[in-house]
Structures are given as C-alpha cells and as structure tokens.
C-alpha cells in the first residue's frame, strides 16, 4: 500500500542572476497532497505541464525528501529506508535513461541482475518473458545509442521490470511510442496488473492511456489534488456538454430551451449538460415524440480534462 499524507515540496528558485544575493523564493510544487493506493490498483496521475506530477513521483520513490508530510510504502519510509524500498519498486522516468549508452541491452540487464541479486533461474525466465512481450529481439544486438526512441523505451521498461517489483512508478512511459507499441505496452501493463498484482502509478499526457488502463485517476494542478476517483465520476463532474441525437418517427415536436439545436429531416441534435439540470429536457422531448433511436455522446475525455484544468487555473487566479 502506498500512503501519502499531506505531502509538500517547495523548490528554491532564484529570479535573478546574481549569485551573491541570498534572497530566494520558494515555489510550491506539491501542496498538501494526500492519497492512498491499495495493492493491485492501476492509477493514472494526470495534470498539465508543471503540475507537480514528477515531483510527487520522486518523493514516492524516495529520491526526494518531502518538505512536509510523509510517505509510506508498505509501512516503509522510502527516503530513510531507501535500500529496502528499492527492492520492491520499479521506476521509469520517460526522459531519463538507465541503460548503458554504448553497450547492448543485455549488458545492462546483467548488471541489474546482480544489483538486485536476482537468482539465475528467475532471471532467465523473466528476461525471456519480457523479451517476447516487448519485442526486444529485433534490436537485441545493437548498442543502446543506436536504438530509436521507442525501441529504447521498451528496453527501459524491461529494465524497470526485471526484478519483478510489486510497485511500479511510471513517469510518462508511453512518450515517443507509435500506436502499435503503445497498444502493446498497455496490454503488458494490464497483464502485469491483473496477473501479477503489480500496483501501478503512471503519469501521462496521453489520456487514452488513462482511459484504457486505469481504474482510478488522480488529477493534479498547481500542486493540489483536484480529483481522485473513477473515470466515470470524473466525467459526471464535467461542465462540458454531451451531444444528444434522436431519430424521430414522423414530424418532430420541438420544445423550448434546447441549446445548439439542429434538425436534419427526422433527426434532431442538441447539447445537454447534466450540471445545468438539463436531463429534464431530454425526458420532455422523449415524452412528446415517437422516438426511434437515441444516442448520447459524452464529451471526449480530452474535453473533460481540459475543462478541469481550466477551471482550476481560473480559481488559482482569483
């Protein structure tokens, strides 16, 4: 179980170039964030650029010491009991390579085997599984410096998973991957989560990742946790409109108060917003027409999240 309570992190920043001036300001990157992640969960951690996602991950993994609050992973403090924590976690930073630049992939893996003291048999099995799943064979013999971004990322992922961690922190794992590889990575993560019960926390800017993978999503902006819950609930809190399309038998009877109303023959389309209590309108129009077919298109997830980011931005300014 990952527990974070009242986490805070301030970075000292200088907004001048004078190295002798002492005055420094603090930028609050993470501000009083609390959550728990139970074993076996797959959680998406999203937020706009500079929201504090990476900072949170760094504190959870024990690289960064929180300025306030505490982190416990299975009751262990990841900063003070670093080595104990390291054996249980796998970490991937999308922008940072842990592979040896001039060497081949398996050189790095062999080193990791010894660093984590993985038994021979287990290592062989694990490696062949990962090799197949991530399709590493086609570039197995090349030095890492010759790999493409997507290929390298697959290699990185294998490196993070080699010691069979029970917690996996992924900071933008799908960055630079093509559609097919992304799909494969998602499958892999799902399988790890379902079969091996690996707890996964991932940050991403690709909302499809979250939609396809995560049972739970946390949204952060300006260092504050805005939302923590299921994807469906997130949708329902959204102020963006849904689009309703109704096929009607005979001439449609129209009522007042429909927004963005359009009619094309027997088909009418209008916008609906649950938060404005417009569900009532739908009931009315269905009541006074002979309805053949009805489709309600929820706002796309991008819209939902954009809406949330924007509102939190406005609140910040006020």
């Amino acid at each position: 179980m990952i527990e974070a309570s009242h986490l805070c992190k301030n970075y000292p920043i200088k907004n001048h170039n004078n190295p002798f001036r002492k005055d420094r300001q603090l930028r609050c990157a993470v501000d009083d964030i609390s959550f728990t992640v139970s074993p076996g969960e797959l959680v998406g951690y999203i937020g706009p650029n500079g929201a504090g996602k990476s900072t949170t991950i760094k504190m959870l993994t024990g690289i960064l010491l929180p300025d306030g609050g505490m982190v416990r992973v299975d009751g262990i403090d990841p900063f003070y009991q670093r080595k104990q924590n390291c054996r249980k976690i796998g970490v991937l930073f999308g922008q940072r390579s842990q592979l040896w630049w001039h060497l081949r992939l398996d050189d790095t893996y062999r080193l990791l085997k010894h660093l984590y003291e993985i038994p021979d048999e287990q290592y062989r099995k694990r490696l062949s599984v990962l090799r197949e799943m991530l399709e590493l064979d086609s570039f197995w013999d090349q030095p890492v410096r010759q790999l493409s971004l997507g290929q390298r990322m697959r290699g990185e992922l294998a490196a993070a998973l080699l010691h069979s961690p029970s917690y996996l922190y992924l900071d933008e794992p799908t960055v630079g991957m093509d559609v097919l590889v992304k799909e494969r990575i998602r499958e892999l993560l799902k399988e790890l989560n379902r079969q091996d019960g690996v707890t996964i926390l991932l940050t991403t800017h690709d909302l499809e990742d979250v939609e396809r993978l995560c049972s739970r999503v946390m949204v952060i902006n300006h260092g504050k946790l805005l939302y923590d819950g299921t994807m469906a609930q997130l949708r329902s809190r959204c102020t963006a409109d849904a689009t309703v399309t109704i096929d009607i038998q005979g001439e449609p009877t129209i009522i007042d108060g429909l927004r963005n109303f359009r009619q094309k023959g027997n088909q009418i389309t209008f916008s609906l917003n649950r938060r404005l209590g417009e569900g009532q309108l739908l009931a009315q129009i269905v009541g006074c027409n002979h309805v053949r077919d009805i489709t309600i298109q929820e706002p796309p997830i991008e819209e939902v999240v954009r809406d949330l980011y924007q509102r939190s931005g406005e609140e910040e300014q006020r």
């Binding site: 991950i57 024990g62 960064l64 104990q84 940072r96 001039h102 050189d107 080193l111 010894h114 003291e117």
Partner: protein, 268 residues
C-alpha cells in the same frame, strides 16, 4: 553478491571508455611528452651550473623520482570522481543511483575503476618506455621497503579518493565545483611534489605542505621508495596518511548525509 555488480560496473565503464580510445592515445603522447620536457629541464639544470649541492640528491635519484611519479600519479588518481558526481547531480542521473539497493558512492567508485584500469595501463606503457630509455631506475633498499611503498601508495589513493568525493559532495550545495577543482588541482600540482620534489622547497614552504593532504598522496610514497626516510619517519608518514583518510572520510560522510536531504533531481 554485490561484489559482482561492482565488478560489472567497473567492467562496463572500462568498455565504455574503450569507445574513446583515440582520446587516450592523445593523453598517452601528452604524458610522454611532459616527461621528456622534465627530463630535459633537469638535465640542463644539473649540468649547466654546479647545481649538485643545492639539489641534495644525484641526477639518477631525480630522474628516478620523475619517472616513478608517472606511476604514482596514475595509481593514486581518483579519475575525476568529483567531476562525475557533479555532472550526475546536474544532469539528474544521480536519481538512478539512489534507486538501486546498493550504495551510490560504491557504484561511483566502481565505475571510476573501469576508467582507472584503462588509464593505468596506458601510463604503465609510458613508464616502461621511460625506464627502458634511461636504462633502469633506482629500486628500494629492500623487499620490506617495497612493501611499505605499496602500502603507502594505497593509502595515498584513499586520501585522494576521499578528497575527490568530498569535493564532489559540495555539488549538493552549489554547481561549479569543477571550476573550483581546477584551482585546487593547480595548487595540488605544486604542493604534492608531482613536478618539483618537495625536498627542493624552502623550509617554510615544506612546512606548509605538511599541513595539507596533498603531499601525503604523492610525495610520501615516492620518498619511501627512494629511501629518503628513516624508519621512524615512515611510521609517522603513514600515521599522517591514515589521519587524512579518516578526517576526509568523516567530513565527507557528514556533508553527504546533509546534502542527500536537499537533493533536487533536475528534469522530468
């Protein structure tokens, strides 16, 4: 066992430095060239004026000292650990070191040994060629002396290692350790006996060098090898070496513990 992972680390960094083998060839020439210049300079000094009484030691001893210094410098070199540490902190790679269930400093040292082995091999070539060229150098008075020399050489390496680690640790607080290190390197070159044997320095300067760790890195082993010390002095010198190791180690540990808490991993 973790011993294997340290060996692998050293092996990989050796392999990676072999990629830059051409650079090393340049260093090899550089090192040989430096030795040649020194040889000519001392040769000129010895034979142009009646320099002998001032020098205190024979030309052969001086020559042995200079050639021996190639080996001693090579062995006690900590291979830019401070530079590496700073660079890892600035680039944020240090995060990866802290994510492994082993000691980050251990990994750092293991990595430096890969480069070290490579560099010692090239220096050994320079040394051997130089020895052959001048027809052999002085050897220590006895097998025991040789043993003491090797021991003091190892202690010298440890002092330098601790010093470099300490310097690197400052990078937790400010970036620019590398520049500072340049100044110190220059200072160190003069005060450690790397170029001019300390027995040639005026007394007050010799006294100053005694207060710094640098002479305990290079000069002390060289003196033991060349038989410039009584048994009593050897014991004192080694005691001093151990003192420096412990002092620097303690300081380093103290700073490291505090620095670790204020690490900011850049990027991401």
């Amino acid at each position: 066992m973790n011993g294997t992972s340290y060996l692998l680390l050293a092996y990989y960094s050796l392999k990676e430095s072999l990629v830059y083998i051409k650079n090393t060839m340049v260093f090899l020439l550089f090192s040989a060239f430096g030795l040649l210049i020194q040889y000519s300079a001392w040769y000129a000094l010895y034979w142009s004026v009646d320099f002998m009484p001032v020098m205190g030691r024979s030309f052969e001893t001086m020559l042995s000292y200079q050639i021996l210094m190639v080996l001693i410098r090579s062995f006690t070199d900590a291979n830019g650990i401070s530079r590496q540490l700073e660079q890892r902190m600035v680039s944020g790679e240090i995060a990866l070191d802290f994510l492994r269930p082993v000691a980050p400093r251990g990994m750092l040292i293991a990595r430096s040994w890969g480069e070290k082995i490579f560099q010692m091999a090239t220096d050994l070539v320079v040394f051997s060629v130089a020895v052959l060229a001048v027809g052999g150098i002085q050897s220590p008075a006895s097998i025991e002396m040789m043993g003491l020399f090797l021991l003091s050489l190892c202690l010298g390496y440890l002092i330098n290692l601790m010093f470099e680690l300490l310097m690197g640790t400052f990078a937790f607080w400010f970036v620019g350790v590398n520049t500072l290190k340049w100044f110190i390197d220059f200072f160190q070159l003069a005060m450690s006996g790397a170029i001019v044997p300390l027995w040639l320095l005026p007394d007050w300067l010799q006294f100053c060098t005694k207060l710094l760790p640098f002479q305990a890195i290079l000069y002390a082993p060289a003196q033991i090898y060349l038989g410039g010390m009584s048994n009593m002095e050897i014991v004192q010198t080694m005691g001093l070496q151990v003192f420096w190791i412990l002092l620097l180690m303690g300081l380093q540990e103290l700073l490291w513990r505090r620095g670790k808490r204020r690490i900011v991993v850049l990027g991401g």
